[in-house]
Symmetry: C4
Subunit: 235 residues, 4 copies
């Protein structure tokens, strides 16, 4: 079942390695089938060498139970499930420990919008969660990681800010499907590095004016967007 | 029409990716045919995979109208047009979001000439524009980006400073043809990184003395240049 | 003799180069056969090009004498021997001059545990030795390097902290076998860089709370570990 | 004539590109034949693509005149000649604009010996020249670059410090032959980066104690050296 989604999710996980966002087995990507209420995710702690679509694990969105697999799903599965249940528009989730995004997460700092590169993708900053409490860490840790992300987005549209830094841990990104979530993970790593290099040159750099932020975000994403082709060009 | 120029422009766009100056679809290169009054530029928001010369878009230099294409030109087309109309000696323009040059642009700092590497290409600093006003951003943004570049070069020879940082955005470079503009984009990224690393070692480093600046720039570019072969060697 | 171990040690040495942890001939990996009391290690100052299993040198764990080789073992052999004799649970040792780990060693700073990436592998900091005394440097230098590592671990479990920074020199890592030691050398280089980038963003970052450290280390390594598959999956 | 040396010098120039020490045409390597009094060097401003041994230029060590070539030699030829005439033990010279070494040169700072990695190659710091005077820049610039290097080594053995940073310009390295000079250029770039990263962690790091410096330099290079094989191993 879900053969196409398994292929997409497997490919997305391998792309994380190919793009340098994941080393060792540190990362996971998932996709969702909203109609069937099922999520497909990478197995836990498994090497990327030889990973194939049939190794992907199918999990019920409703209760988190494994369907159709002898492998355990990623230990971060409960985090993914909370995100899918709450952010109803998203179709894919990615978690990495990519270098620069993780450094910002470890520093517990949101990434300010310092220029148009970030404004093309985020309608403002990349937010950072609060640190979990000792109780939230000891009990139901992975689901609480999802809950603190949701808490951070109470007043934000997740599709206008398709990434979060989990304090002291690392980034989660999402998108309309799993490949889009990988794309956002790649862009996030670039803007995280770019923000670091900007502060190295001018440590007191302020965020860009909102008029420039709106211009760039909305020319790509707003109802009057004029960036890109009107329809996918047939190249 | 313009088959050779389309090939050159397509190749230049692909070279930007190959040299690590562009990720995703963030960048564009164009070339001009001054006799015919036509510019050839990358289509907007199109993936580099499978990009071919026939996808390049031909635009009238006079009025910016698309000639001979079903694809939309790069959203930065109005910026390129302003540059070609004003800087009459240039034959190619490149825009990227390359990491280090963009960091300097986000920091709104010109890149001082700290050594002979930069002096071999720029007769001094790499300038940075002022930030556009809210009105300039809201109306005719891309053309105004070109105009603020021109304003920055009122007292500078564009061929002696073949690059600019657009504040909060990123670099534009140019050259005698599109391949030369790519070459300058690559050199710019290197000197931007080099300047950053220099300041990390000695934060108060001053620009080089003008006598050393002149020596290096003029031995390559002045009327008495003695660097390189007298004519292109037949290797 | 020890053909399999020679193959493993040779491959591990080549992997250090492939993973960018070693340039030139700067590094060495060894493995041990506890039953026979023999260590297999890279020859000294030999190029990685064309290195083969039969070039590996077998050394007696008891007295350090070379067995079965016409090549000299790595000049760091006495350091490896001290580690095997004292840390009885380890099966492989690696020494590199990898960039970021060596920078921390040159700075004579331990690497604090700033996030979950490090906590997944180290139950706390990556320790740094004291500097050897002039006498320890002049006489029996390489063995004294091993002894100062052991001294640093008097109150630490070497398998819960599978790496050390030797002051002014560089990192040594170890593991249950030589491949595991290479894996830890690779992880160490990543967390060393990550710590550097974290401090660049927020210079006063404190180590993570112990409850988060325990959670991550113990979910992978404790008796109640639930990360990864219960048994090696057959992919 | 000098076919073998032309091959070695050509290969060395190409290796500079392969090792990431040279981009564009910024760099040059040369070798010398002391018996015949001839130097072989890269042609000036020529692309590395398609460069072949027959393009190398032969120059007289005595008077700097070109022998046997229709191409002009590197514009840095007078610098190389001064070095060969003064440092009688060297057989190869390399000049690059490699990133980190050039940053130190632009900052006009010598690279202190912060650890054993540098001590394995340099018996102390990597020195930096003074800046040339305006007169020295205007007249006979390239030969004066050589002379200021020689001046910097008045009290140093060039084979114990096989590299120099030319202030505001970049590094020159040398060795017993041209391949050895390339090797030293590669090591220099690594130690320059390593020193930068060390200072980022601990800005007040002091040079290593002389007893540790001597230990590492002399175990590889002194009369009692015990690093490496007694003779070249036949691998």
């Amino acid at each position: 079942m879900l053969e196409q989604l398994k292929q997409d999710v497997c490919k997305a996980n391998l792309n994380l390695v190919a793009e340098g966002l994941v080393i060792q087995s540190w990362g996971n990507a998932s996709g969702v089938d909203r109609e069937r209420g099922l999520m497909v995710i990478k197995p836990s702690g498994v090497s990327y060498d030889g990973m194939k679509p049939e190794h992907m694990v199918v999990v019920s969105l409703a209760d988190g139970k494994v369907v159709d697999s002898h492998l355990k799903p990623s230990s971060d599965t409960p985090t993914h499930l909370v995100l899918y249940r709450t952010f109803r528009e998203i179709g894919g989730v990615v978690h990495t420990h990519s270098l620069y995004a993780t450094a910002w997460a470890q520093a517990q700092r949101k990434i300010p919008s310092f220029g148009t590169t970030q404004a093309d993708y985020w309608h403002g900053e990349v937010p950072c969660t609060r640190l979990l409490t000792p109780d939230e860490i000891k009990n139901d840790y992975e689901a609480n990681t999802g809950r603190v992300i949701v808490e951070t987005f109470r007043k934000k549209n997740p599709l206008q800010h398709p990434a979060v830094l989990v304090a002291r841990h690392g980034p989660f990104t999402w998108g309309k499907d799993v490949q889009d979530a990988v794309h956002n993970a790649s862009v996030l790593e670039f803007v995280a590095r770019l923000a670091t290099e900007t502060l190295r040159i001018a440590p007191k750099t302020k965020p860009i004016p909102s008029v420039l932020l709106d211009k760039h975000f909305l020319r790509k994403h707003g109802p009057k967007a004029y960036y890109g082709q009107n329809q996918a060009p047939t190249l």
